[in-house]
């Protein structure tokens, strides 16, 4: 196989090819480094590329393979993580000038666990400033969507989406507070999973909203997602809110089919007037596929769900402003204007409004749990529209109506799972007539990631979307 083609393999295929000595870890890492050098000046997926460190780790891995040592599930797989996760001795910018000199003294738990599983860290990936969104002038370059360079790759794990679509890493871990992992996955034709709160440690992840933040596996395929989730999930004494529930082998049930599952289309998200017609069509088509695969399909109602975007902003932005209080008071001038004004507005929210939003969050959770008694899997689009153009996303707001239409509503699709602490996955769900990716989102009960992945895998096997290559990835 030509070296460049190695980069197009899935993480699962790479791990198998290395374990069976068909390729060496050095060849694989070099293939990715070559592509990063060739494409990333334009795409800006990476903030830091760990060329020497990755090659040294690959040579060490090669020795282990040669002497028949024990190989972890991600052995030799080149990964990259959002620059929001601490990496020992390596710059961690959080996408902000404020953190331009921040070099952590230890690894985030998910970074340590990726390494324990055998993964090789290629570098740190670009993101919207402070993992928020709408950054007008990203200090480390504008991440560009390989499917259309004029369009956003989604926020805030933008670099993860770009790197997967352009095959600049084999797998990634992003972060998802309100959709920051699933959104870029949808925009870039990748897979992004937000796990149940407590399933994956948040230790060493710079916070936005402590009870909504979630480390999010982002991958090229559903099987890869199961593999990465299995590697990073589980109790961590350094994050007191991690669950002690055992971590299953998420790959074990993937191929069992979905005949026993009930799928429920969330009516309020599907029928909203602001939804793009081709996205709506793709979701209806997905339901037909689930039916063809033997599943039961129906509609469910979650009356409050269209308000989730506003509730999310009321809760998460206010928490975020609290977490960044010191920056807001003393270093606000170093922030991008969009980050600054968003945090400043959130810092003014009265306690009674925050309290109401927190109560609404609980009511929303009750409505979701009720729906999840009727069905096993909830279905919607990940975003109500295809990836917008950069200029449209980052333009200053023109009045409150503009804020409402551009800021709140689209956040309802992904923010609802963040608010309710439930697992959700975005998978490639088709393309618009002009070739832009559409994300299909599935949600499930707490800690039902195995079921979620099984449903996603069945859909992926029945559709060709994940095999397409982005125009900017093939040069």
């Amino acid at each position: 196989m030509a070296r460049d083609e190695l980069a197009f393999l899935s993480a699962t295929e790479i791990a198998e090819a290395i374990a069976t000595k068909q390729v060496s870890p050095v060849e694989v890492v070099q293939a990715y480094l070559d592509r990063i050098e060739r494409f990333d000046d334009e795409l800006h997926a990476y903030i830091t590329v760990l060329r020497d460190e990755a090659l040294a780790a690959a040579r060490q891995a090669e020795e282990i393979v040669q002497r028949g040592g024990a190989l972890g599930p991600l052995f030799g797989v080149p990964v990259a993580v959002k620059d929001q996760f601490w990496t020992k001795g390596i710059l961690t910018t959080n996408g902000s000038r404020v953190y331009r000199d921040f070099v952590p003294s230890e690894d985030a738990t998910i970074v340590a666990r990726l390494k324990e599983a055998g993964a090789i860290l290629l570098g740190k990936l670009n993101l919207s400033e402070l993992a928020m969104g709408g950054t007008q002038h990203p200090p480390y370059g504008i991440p560009r969507n390989p499917w259309d360079l004029e369009r956003t790759p989604g926020e805030s794990s933008s670099g993860s989406g770009v790197a997967l679509a352009a095959h600049l890493c084999a797998a990634s871990v992003g972060e998802d507070t309100g959709g920051s992992g699933r959104g870029p996955a949808a925009c870039c034709n990748a897979v992004g999973l937000r796990p149940t709160f407590g399933r994956v440690s948040r230790y060493g992840m710079t916070p936005m909203c402590w009870f909504a933040d979630a480390a999010a596996p982002m991958t090229k395929t559903v099987r890869d997602c199961a593999l990465v989730l299995g590697a990073i999930a589980g109790y961590d004494s350094r994050d007191p809110y991690t669950s002690r529930k055992p971590v299953p082998d998420y790959t074990a049930q993937l191929a069992q089919g979905i005949r026993d599952l009930r799928f429920g289309l969330i009516r309020e998200l599907q029928e909203h007037d602001d939804m793009h017609p081709e996205v709506r069509r793709a979701i209806y088509d997905a339901l037909e596929i689930f039916k063809d695969l033997g599943a039961e399909v129906r509609e469910v109602s979650i009356p409050m769900v269209a308000l989730a975007g506003a509730v999310f902003v009321g809760v998460a932005d206010t928490e975020g402003a609290g977490a960044r209080d010191e920056i807001l008071r003393s270093r606000a001038d170093e922030l991008d204007a969009a980050t600054r004004t968003r945090l400043q507005a959130a810092a003014l929210v009265p306690a009674k409004v925050y309290n109401r939003a927190m109560k609404a969050r609980v009511l929303l959770r009750q409505q979701f749990m009720r729906a999840l008694q009727e069905v096993d899997i909830l279905v919607s689009a990940t975003m109500p529209h295809p990836p917008p153009k950069h200029a449209a996303l980052t333009a200053p707001f023109k009045g409150t109506d503009d804020v409402r239409s551009r800021f709140f509503f689209r956040r309802s699709y992904t923010g609802c799972y963040a608010l309710t602490a439930l697992p959700a996955i975005s998978i490639p769900g088709g393309f618009t007539s002009d070739g832009l990716p559409i994300g299909l989102q599935l949600g499930a009960r707490p800690f039902a990631e195995a079921t979620l992945l099984r449903a996603a895998y069945a859909y992926e096997r029945a559709t060709p979307w994940h095999d397409r290559r982005a125009p900017a990835a093939v040069g």
């Binding site: 407590g198 308000l307 009321g314 810092a347 003014l348 109401r356 109560k359 409402r404």
Partner: protein, 60 residues
């Protein structure tokens, strides 16, 4: 006397101890006002019996 949206935000910012540039007052005010308007829609909900918990129990 009715305060302009910018004056209101300027005063709130003073109370919470942050400084907002004059050139960005209008943008902050639009963001703040739209959030408050959206949150006002929640007053239609009966939330009187709900405890605003942050972490949901693992088993329900």
């Amino acid at each position: 006397m009715t305060l302009s949206k910018e004056d209101r935000v300027r005063e709130l910012a003073r109370l919470v101890g942050i400084s907002i540039a004059e050139s960005e007052l209008s943008e902050v005010a639009d963001r703040f006002d739209s959030l408050i308007e959206e949150m006002a829609r929640l007053t239609q909900l009966d939330l009187s019996e709900i405890q605003p918990v942050t972490i949901f129990p693992e088993e329900e």
